[in-house]
Subunit: 322 residues, 2 copies
Amino acid sequence: MKGAILKSTQEPLVLEEAKFENQNIDYVEVKLYSAALNHRDLWITKGQYAGIKFPIILGSDGCGHFKGEDVVLNPSLEWGPDERVQGPSYQVLGLPTHGTFAESIWIHPDQLFPKPPHLNNLEAAALPLAGLTAYRVLFSRCGLTPGKKVLVTGAGGGVALFAIQFALAIGSEVWVTSGSNEKLEKVKAMGAAGGVNYRNAGWDQQLKVLTGGFDIIIDSAAGDSFAALIGLCRPGAAIGLYGGTLGKMNQLVPQVLFWKQISIHGSTMGTAREFAAMLELVAKYQIHPVIDSVFSLEEVNQALKRMEEGSQFGKIVLKIAD
Amino acid sequence: MKGAILKSTQEPLVLEEAKFENQNIDYVEVKLYSAALNHRDLWITKGQYAGIKFPIILGSDGCGHFKGEDVVLNPSLEWGPDERVQGPSYQVLGLPTHGTFAESIWIHPDQLFPKPPHLNNLEAAALPLAGLTAYRVLFSRCGLTPGKKVLVTGAGGGVALFAIQFALAIGSEVWVTSGSNEKLEKVKAMGAAGGVNYRNAGWDQQLKVLTGGFDIIIDSAAGDSFAALIGLCRPGAAIGLYGGTLGKMNQLVPQVLFWKQISIHGSTMGTAREFAAMLELVAKYQIHPVIDSVFSLEEVNQALKRMEEGSQFGKIVLKIAD
């Protein structure tokens, strides 16, 4: 089978015949229809990730077929027994084990879940990592229930869009921020109540006036704008943090945190139980992942370039086979 | 009845006959045996608190008797229906309503709870505000269960000492920080596993080497040392924050928060249900509050001075009547 192999951080992925051994006697081979990109893949190609090894087939998201059934792959490997946190053996599919940018993958059958029937193969590949991350941070960590007022920052990213879709599906009032007015319009067309451009000075005060504040805020930027999110919390609010693209958080006011009984929950990935619950939610509400663009496996480096440019809205998908 | 009245922030409390009207038809008069000080009282005398009015009898902690029964007073007034957070009518006893630095107090009978029988009147007055705050942040917010490794910073303060006692009572391994080696020794004598002096450079690394990190951290300092607490978190840890004496928090690393699934919970005061549960815990484990010093009601300004000096270990109590 062919796979898109990263051989060093100095060169693009190379699509070639890969003869990696089946490293575990319990693993099965899954023929892949499709895969999808995550920022993780991009960071690994640039050497900005812990534990990089070569050669490695990247890719955490995949949809394929096994024993006559269409399946999606849970990218959380070896979570361990504690629902609260992944254990020391935890891995994300696609490093250190080989991932989904390939014609097939060897994987433990416990990672395979039936594809939600309403999704095509490209949509299904868009779902796993981002959908799982959004599910855990929204529901397990921040305790989202219907009727809440929700803010999702950085609308356009894969996790952010699933968070928006999931929150809308169960009946939340969803607001967003983005650095692009075009993306704000797209999210409003999906059903969001509104949004503001974080490049405008006073965006947080604008949101506060428009909404009165939020019960749940989902963020992956952190950085200096995080303090503004605390100011946008209603009493009893929860902030879910699943990334840190803007770096360290500063100038957080403790009195606001404790007087308003605010919680900040770091969150990443999720358990197999959460993966199954996420698929169930997607099927129940007939949610279709937002796809930004589709590339062939041969075009994987163009797909990575698309992600690097940062203008995508939704998931960047690789079509591998029909 | 006599009360210690604050008439302005320019002068000490004045003990004199107070003829305040019973402002609510449901209120009852409780004769007070004893009261206790909190930092809140000190900050009000200095004008460093929101909504100060004059004249006002300060004091949130009280023990007295009503209809032949010894009672302690729940200082949380009008919490409201939401367990997660106090509502807009919420008040702490002792501003804007008159407090416990007086021979008696008019208060709603729902605020009265039977005094734990094993406590004397001075110990009972030491319990309410600090015990309630410690209970909520430890149990309701951080989910403490037996067998956890707990760090309490700033050992010596009222809430910190109750947090230490409560966590020890249910079988936690408790570590502390303090700026005083003498206080560290006192806490070890109470059963803490150990502690470090935060005035020593590298105190956090020292703690990490000694303990491997913590499941629950209880802090009221915030400020620049808060980032070190995040570094002391075990995977899945919770930090409970109930104060902010060192001001804003800076340099928090988002990647540590989300990869370790850490939660930060702001917390203040507590509900009537939590107050009752706290009294039950104190009775069940026969916990005796740590008393730093006892003053008469006439000596209330000396008691406030003792608090201002900051060297107390445990609660500063006012003895009002036998």
